[in-house]
Symmetry: C2
Subunit: 305 residues, 2 copies
């Protein structure tokens, strides 16, 4: 049996780091486990404009570093390893990693989620330079431009409406000839003069020089190729939480997100979830950080009772 902790945090994005900051500052013996880069998804953000306290915006990777520095300053221990399994058990939970096993009284799951990618040439290359997965985060950067949004669900159409407040023109690219979005949202989008629909089409390539300039589209009906000039493209084809190892152990929603209440409690005492991995997260840096603090306060209360 490996080392024992009061709290083990899985994930080193804003939710996990803030949980770690709070837990370590409360003098709970805490280990944070992160398999990749500390900071999580925000390390991809060229500039985070909506994290309160930074009116000029801040580079995502820098914000991650600052929170990391603050948390380790209070004694947070960090392990670079992948979590390969967990066995919940009242106050003696087991967390297995590639670097050994750990027992703990409480677990905070802050393993995040990934936006589904299109998987086309140019997509990875232009992330942060015209390719975005979050309209709330990046919409205002596209003021006065033509933008495309790829997808046909509620999220895609709601984001199209949102983007129409900034962009001069919004092109919704959908592989089918009708939307999956709910009726009322559809009607609003169809009535919005700035929004056009490009039906029966998929993006096969994202092109540009320094930033996105055009999309290569292919018809899903007759394979015809066309080109659409845009200043940016929002990909809204869904997302996947990093929650596979909790299936069967904790209640998940239909998308695989972990269900919590507003105290970040899951259905198992001592097991909490925070940030993008949980159901109904607003998926913003500030909400993830808030979740992390709430989860740590809840965990500390659990430990003292």
């Amino acid at each position: 049996m490996g080392k024992s902790y009061q709290v083990v945090i899985i994930g080193g994005g804003p939710a996990g780091l803030t949980a770690g900051l709070y837990s370590a500052r409360s003098r709970c013996n805490t280990l944070l486990i992160e398999k990749g880069i500390i900071g999580g998804q925000i390390t991809n953000a060229e500039r985070v404009e909506n994290y309160p306290g930074f009116p000029e915006g801040i580079q995502g990777i820098r914000l991650g570093q600052l929170i990391h520095e603050q948390a380790t300053g209070y004694g947070l221990e960090i392990l670079s390893a992948e979590v390969i399994g967990a066995v919940p058990s009242a106050r003696h939970n087991l967390v297995s990693t590639g670097e050994g096993d750990f027992t703990c009284e409480s677990i905070i799951i802050a393993s995040g989620a990934q936006y589904r990618r299109l998987g086309v040439p140019g997509e990875d290359e232009f992330v942060g330079r015209g390719v975005s997965y979050c309209a709330t985060c990046d919409g205002p950067l596209f003021k006065g431009k033509t933008v495309a949004i790829v997808g046909g669900g509620d999220a895609a159409v709601t984001e199209a409406l949102y983007l129409s407040k900034f962009a001069t023109s919004v092109k919704v690219i959908h592989r089918r000839s009708e939307l999956r979005a709910s009726k009322v949202v559809q009607e609003r989008a169809l009535a919005e003069p700035k929004i056009d629909f490009v039906w029966d089409s998929v993006v096969t390539r994202i092109e540009g020089d320094k930033a996105v300039e055009q999309l290569v589209l292919k018809s899903t009906k007759d394979d015809r190729i066309s080109v659409l000039e845009v200043g940016g493209v929002f990909v809204a084809v869904g997302s996947e939480p990093n929650s596979a190892q909790w299936r069967g152990l904790l209640p998940l929603d239909e998308g695989g997100y972990i269900i919590t209440n507003e105290l970040m409690e899951t259905s198992l005492p001592g097991i909490f979830a925070a940030g993008d991995v949980r159901h109904n997260s607003a998926r913003q840096v500030i909400t993830a950080a808030g979740d992390g603090a709430t989860a740590a306060v809840s965990a500390a209360r659990f430990l003292s009772h």
Copy 2:
């Protein structure tokens, strides 16, 4: 009838300001109403150590200014006025203030809460210099000191346990000869060698030079006066949310806090609550800010449906 907004936010602390930042950045026509100082309760904090992103800590009033600057930079409108009443009505809510009436589609209530004060000489004078109302916020500042905590409920005893991790000695001052705290918390506190109880006593005066040095106590049994030397005093005699005008309109918990789900939705469509005024808030700057962002995202979704 006065001016009309899409969103009216009541309260200009971290929850309200962050809601305003998000709502204005989403180009929702938004008014924030604050009766006192912008920044709310944090303006009293000499240094906020646990707001993620500021490893060196930041003065509370400065953090408030930064978020204020960021929110108004996105076009948030702010009115200095007291809200005197509200009449919810589907998408036509009325908010009355000393400076006129406003209608709005959505309301975000972020009016905060107040810690109950002892109301003794020296208390106001030494806030931030030895007098504190929040162990989670300020506990680590009292490392190696003797501190007192005033109160006998669950919060007081839980905070005493928390403070025992930092302080060399914790004196719990209670006006009765037994605690109201739950059994299990009591037992842990009674078993903690660093914690002593001062029964049947009330604080009548807080004294010191530059910071708190001693408390004057009076026995509730025989009025005898005694002096207790301490490096700080935590007041844990309860708190009161600023929610009076919502009584009868929204479900409140027994303490008067507004009940929400994890989307910050109250029971009325279009009415949201965020930060310290809501039930089960962790009452931290970061959790209030996270709540505010979530409420604004929820309000924007409400407006688009």
